[in-house]
């Protein structure tokens, strides 16, 4: 019984982290049709910035804010100066963001060094809680809570606000949206910055859980892609469900079939690609 509870909670917490990462990526692709390979760098930078701020101020909230906003600012700069020159040229955009991924990875190695580090958890969430027979880290419960709250906030943004309606319009048909007077360049910048914000935020949350080290950007990027392929590109609901699914399958898969550990993350992705290529909730 303990085993099932722990694994399920674990899967859900990991899934929430994946959701935070995938949501930004999915949004960026859905609206801008840009394959933002630099998303991994946003996570990495978010984690490292959070680490530095935490060391200086010992405040997790401040670190979250600083990291998310800092990364969003960088993304804004990137989009304004470089990315917007090559709209419509998907291959060039992908290559450019890939280049950015490498540049940021190297800079991070230079600034923060090569040692693997972990962000200290926020005060109050460093201990494990007892739920009957089960001992579970309280921080992971926090990640679940934050993921759910973030998901709800994003859903509310998308479904109940004008900004959200504009974003949805952009996802559905960018040309039509432009035709009815939506300021698409501004929309793109805003979405790119929002996606980066989510990635930076995820970086701090994930950094306390999984650590931050050179190479984390590539690993996280890979996982985020798996989630959006399963959940569907451009869909927030897809990112949420996809994240949960991947988190749970990965956990239970590793527990029952440890020899297939590397396979458990990619098996559902392969299955979805074969059966329903647009993902569970994707829009073409």
């Amino acid at each position: 019984m303990t085993f099932w509870v722990v694994q399920a909670l674990n899967g859900v917490s990991f899934g929430m982290l994946l959701f935070l990462l995938a949501a930004g990526l999915s949004l960026i692709f859905g609206v801008m049709k840009v394959l933002n390979l630099a998303h991994g760098s946003f996570y990495l930078l978010g984690a490292y910035l959070g680490l530095t701020v935490l060391r200086l101020t010992h405040s997790f909230l401040l670190a979250l804010a600083a990291a998310a906003l800092g990364v969003a600012a960088l993304a804004l700069l990137l989009e304004r100066t470089v990315l917007r020159r090559i709209y419509g040229e998907e291959l060039r955009q992908a290559l450019l963001t890939f280049g950015v991924l490498f540049i940021i990875a190297d800079q991070a190695l230079w600034i923060w060094g090569g040692n693997p580090q972990t962000l200290p958890k926020p005060a109050g969430f460093t201990a494990s809680v007892r739920l009957g027979d089960v001992i579970f880290p309280s921080y992971r419960l926090l990640v679940i809570a934050v993921g759910v709250v973030m998901g709800a906030a994003l859903w509310w943004l998308q479904e109940r606000t004008r900004v959200g309606a504009v974003i949805r319009a952009g996802v559905d048909d960018e040309e039509m949206a432009r035709g009815i007077g939506v300021n698409t360049p501004l929309l793109f910048t805003a979405v790119f910055a929002l996606g980066a914000f989510l990635a930076g935020f995820g970086g701090v949350m994930g950094g306390a859980l999984l650590g931050v080290y050179p190479g984390a950007d590539f690993e996280v990027l890979l996982l985020a892609f798996v989630v959006i392929i399963i959940g569907g590109l451009g869909s927030l609901k897809g990112a949420f469900v996809g994240g949960l699914l991947v988190g749970l399958i990965d956990n239970f898969g590793k527990a029952f079939f440890p020899e297939l550990a590397l396979f458990t993350v990619f098996a559902p992705m392969a299955a979805i690609l074969a059966v329903r290529p647009t993902g569970l909730f994707g829009k073409a």
Binding site: F3, N10, G114, S128, I135, P137, Y213, P214, G215, A261
Partner: protein, 414 residues
């Protein structure tokens, strides 16, 4: 009006320029042998092929720090000659390592090569080094295959214990010094993780212990929970693991978070809590007992002075990787001094390196090489303790002069 040839100034020279240039380019290599002969009184050139980027970057950088510390201490001179160090990045990849090694040997004309860190790179270099007949001093790559009969090369010297050399004796040590008899063994899912866990289990079983379960999480596992939760379902009374790199901080923290610390004691190989990763782990690492060839807490005059010099320069305690770099530098400098700088004869240089082992005072203690050029070294059992505001791997026991031949009876049929 056509200008006469003779009216154009320097026309003769200008037209001849391309020809002169080509002749110069062709002749230059011919002059080079003369330059190489002059180099016999030039610097002793050491080629370093260690990772400076990639997942093993921190290991490579630590090794270079230890190496530079000693080289700068002796003023980059030995045997009456200057020492020139050329550093190349193997990136933790075998093909890159091989390319860089070739560049060092063939283009830079190094006298010997130091490196690599990655075991796969070491195996990739083996045939090339053997064919080139140039000494290779290996500071980290600890695959047991590299110095086994049939695979060992006369030109490859290794300064670090194999995966077996440390882990096998720990099995017997556990039976003798702890009340624990049933192990849940773990190892990262690649050659070194497997070999190390196998060696520990073989040593443990040979001394009468029992292996309850073996589990091999992949490298770069983000979440060890699926593996850790299996421990509670077994009758194991301790866990032994080979975990390294960026997995170590995660593994150690998650071990505590899931409630196993304090309930099921954790043992393993020193890469789990090495002096590079330890500072970031905090109290989660306290009490973890591991085995390895070095800890900065070794209490000998030679080591204390090494630690002090290192800390003065780099503001951190040295790790096992820094010690390997430092010892390599000592060895090379001593060999060069013994040869009075005549390092051109590679066979003599190799032999001098082997002999130098018994003349240097390595921070870890006395070392010498066996007949496969593998180091015979003291092995330390160590436990993480807090001393003041610092976490250290405190020495619990020293097992002197462990040789790979003692530890391979269970897999190597001589």
């Amino acid at each position: 009006m056509v200008r006469m040839h003779s009216e154009i100034p320097f026309s003769g020279l200008r037209r001849a320029r391309p020809v002169v240039f080509c002749l110069a380019a062709l002749l230059a290599p011919a002059l080079a042998p003369a330059a190489a002969q002059a180099a016999a009184s030039g610097p002793v050139t050491i080629g370093i092929v260690l990772p400076n980027t990639g997942p093993l970057a921190v290991v490579g950088q630590e090794t270079v720090r230890g190496f530079d510390l000693y080289m700068n201490k002796i003023g980059l001179r030995a045997g009456g000659r200057e020492i020139l160090v050329i550093k190349e990045d193997e990136e933790g990849k075998p093909d890159v390592g091989l390319t860089k090694a070739k560049k060092l040997v063939e283009r830079d004309g190094v006298h010997l090569v130091l490196g690599p860190t990655n075991s796969a790179t070491a195996l990739a270099l083996r045939d090339y080094i053997d064919a080139q007949r140039i000494p290779l001093v290996v500071p980290q790559a600890n695959t047991r295959i590299l110095t086994a009969p049939g695979k060992a090369s006369r030109w490859i010297l290794r300064l670090i214990e194999t995966s077996d050399q440390g882990c096998y004796p720990m099995g017997a040590w556990m039976m003798k010094n702890t009340p624990y008899r049933k192990v849940f063994a773990m190892g990262a899912d690649f050659a070194i993780g497997h070999h190390s866990a196998e060696a520990f289990m073989a040593g443990f079983k040979a001394a009468g212990g029992q292996v309850v379960k073996e589990v091999y999480p992949p490298l770069n596992t983000l979440d060890f929970a699926p593996y850790l939760t299996q421990i509670a379902a077994t009758p194991a009374d301790f866990v032994w693991g080979w975990i390294g790199g960026s997995d170590s901080p995660r593994f150690v923290k998650q071990y505590q978070e899931y409630g196993f610390k304090g309930k099921v004691p954790l043992y393993g190989y020193n890469t789990m809590v090495d002096d590079v990763a330890l500072p970031a782990m905090g109290d989660a690492a306290l009490g973890i007992t591991t085995v390895g060839h070095y800890t900065a807490a070794i209490d000998t005059p030679a080591n204390r002075s090494f630690v002090q010099e290192f800390e003065q320069k780099y503001r951190n305690w040295p790790s096992r990787y820094a010690e390997a770099g430092y010892t390599a530098a000592q060895l090379i400098a001593q060999a060069t001094a013994d040869l009075q700088g005549a390092v051109e004869d590679r066979a003599k240089l190799r032999d001098a390196l082997l002999a130098a082992a018994e003349r240097i005072q390595a921070p870890r203690g006395p070392i010498r090489f066996d007949k496969y050029q593998q180091v015979i070294t003291d092995i330390y059992i160590m436990r993480v303790e807090r001393r003041g505001d610092r976490l250290v791997n405190a020495v619990v026991e020293r097992i002197p002069a462990v040789s790979q031949e003692d530890t391979w009876k269970w897999w190597q049929k001589p």
